[in-house]
Amino acid sequence: MKEFAYFPGCSLEKMASSYHMSALETTKRLGVKLNELDDWNCCGATTYFYIDELLAYTLCARNLAIAEKTGLDVVAPCSACYKNMFFTAAHLKKDEDLAEHVNFALEEDNLHFNGNVNVKHLIEVFAEDIGPEELKRSVTKPLEGMKIAPYYGCQIVRPQKEKENVEQPQFFEEILSALGATPVNFPLKMRCCGGSLILSSRIAALNMLRNLLQSAVDAQASVIATACPLCQVNLEVYQQQVNLEFGTNFSVPIMYFTQLVGMAQGIPNKQLGIGKEFVAIKPTPFKAEPVWGLPRKTTKE
């Protein structure tokens, strides 16, 4: 049994509750235990880091210090939370002065960060700690015939940490293949969804979303798989606005990769939070009767 300290992040509380539910359900079946951090706070998102770095590091360090007390590595399902916590841990381990200053602030909450915790993204747990082989063994209903666009987005792979492949990683494709699905060649898989520009510079974000949706449709994907709540919300909730802005008629379901894992493991839709989406997933055209999916809402073609 592998065990991790789990930092859900603000989005997973409500907006991305289906990611939260499916993460817990699927890891349970793979012998991985996610223990939610006690009294965690917001990681600071992108905003804190450009307003006040020291304060942003302190916010993340509080969560890291709480995780450190459990003796477990910490896992974040959101790419922004992951990036913030990963680089905060890295900077604090390297920069003694910074660590001293941050620890001085942490004293107020009786915490101290010693630098003994590693930070992982949830998809890394599936790709590395569990691995495609073990994942494949947990599959009871392979997603045969399902063409999926693996959408990496930004902050799982960028900034570069060591010498890892930042242009053409393959771990997402390997996860989808292990589920029996077909990962399509998705040329824009590493491009940005616009992040918080959807609020502050809307037209730029809508344009980025249009390009992503078009790329996935061109690759004949029936679903885009994501590993980040912000990517999911931007691509899905604002899909209709893309259509209005650019005269397109996209109707592409956007699923968390954990929901797809859960479907392949035969977990009922409800436990995976399926049914809360704006664009319902369509039954596969390759099967006579839908073994997965949602017949409850017809989407326009």
Binding site: Y50, E53, L55, Q155, L197, M208, F278
Partner: protein, 187 residues
């Protein structure tokens, strides 16, 4: 001590843990501009902006919308042949512009940032409905209605929180922040 520092030195000082002036090593290849997904909407491309900083064009840089259109996707940073962390530069410019309260009119970014920071200091968690008030009134009627429609659908599907979340040890948390911003941080 009589020497005043140049604009490009000022900006370099805002970059985390760098020695010297990395922007001076820019070879103007334009890889950043070719990579950036938001470039069609920017007043100046990232390449041009770096050149403007190096030439000391402070007012023009501050008036540019470029850094407010950075989505922090880090695509330019991983591709820069000179290893300039361009995303970090955009952060530095946002920070500088907020401190000086000098930015192009009509941008939502600065007000959005301010309300986000205040929200976290207050409750320790993010809460979308409060955040929305910082940008929604800057929208035109169509955008406004679309946003309301989207929010309503999220609400129906149980994806919007009705009450703000709070951390439990909020008093400790606020005192912790007080040790970083000793005065003026908490009103």
């Amino acid at each position: 001590m009589s020497d005043t520092i140049t604009f490009s030195q000022e900006i370099a000082n805002l970059l985390h843990a760098v020695d010297g002036e990395p922007l001076k090593t820019c070879i103007q290849c334009g890889t950043c501009s070719g990579t950036c997904p938001a470039v069609p909407y920017m007043d100046h491309t990232p390449r041009l902006l770096i050149s403007m900083i190096n030439r000391g064009m402070k007012d023009e840089v501050m008036e540019s919308n470029t850094f407010w259109y950075c989505a922090s996707c880090y695509h330019c940073s991983v591709r820069c042949p000179q290893d300039i962390d361009i995303t970090e530069l955009m952060y530095a410019l946002k920070r500088y512009s907020i401190w000086r309260r000098q930015y192009k009119e009509g941008l939502i970014g600065p007000t959005f940032s301010e309300s986000f920071v205040k929200m976290i200091v207050r409750s320790g968690r993010s809460f979308e409905p409060i955040l929305a008030t910082s940008y929604i009134f800057s929208f035109n009627t169509r955008e406004f209605l679309q946003e309301i429609q989207g929010a309503t659908e999220l609400l129906i599907k149980g994806r919007l929180p009705l009450l703000p979340a709070r951390i439990k040890r909020l008093e400790n948390f606020r005192r912790m922040i007080g040790r970083i911003i000793p005065m003026g941080g908490l009103e």
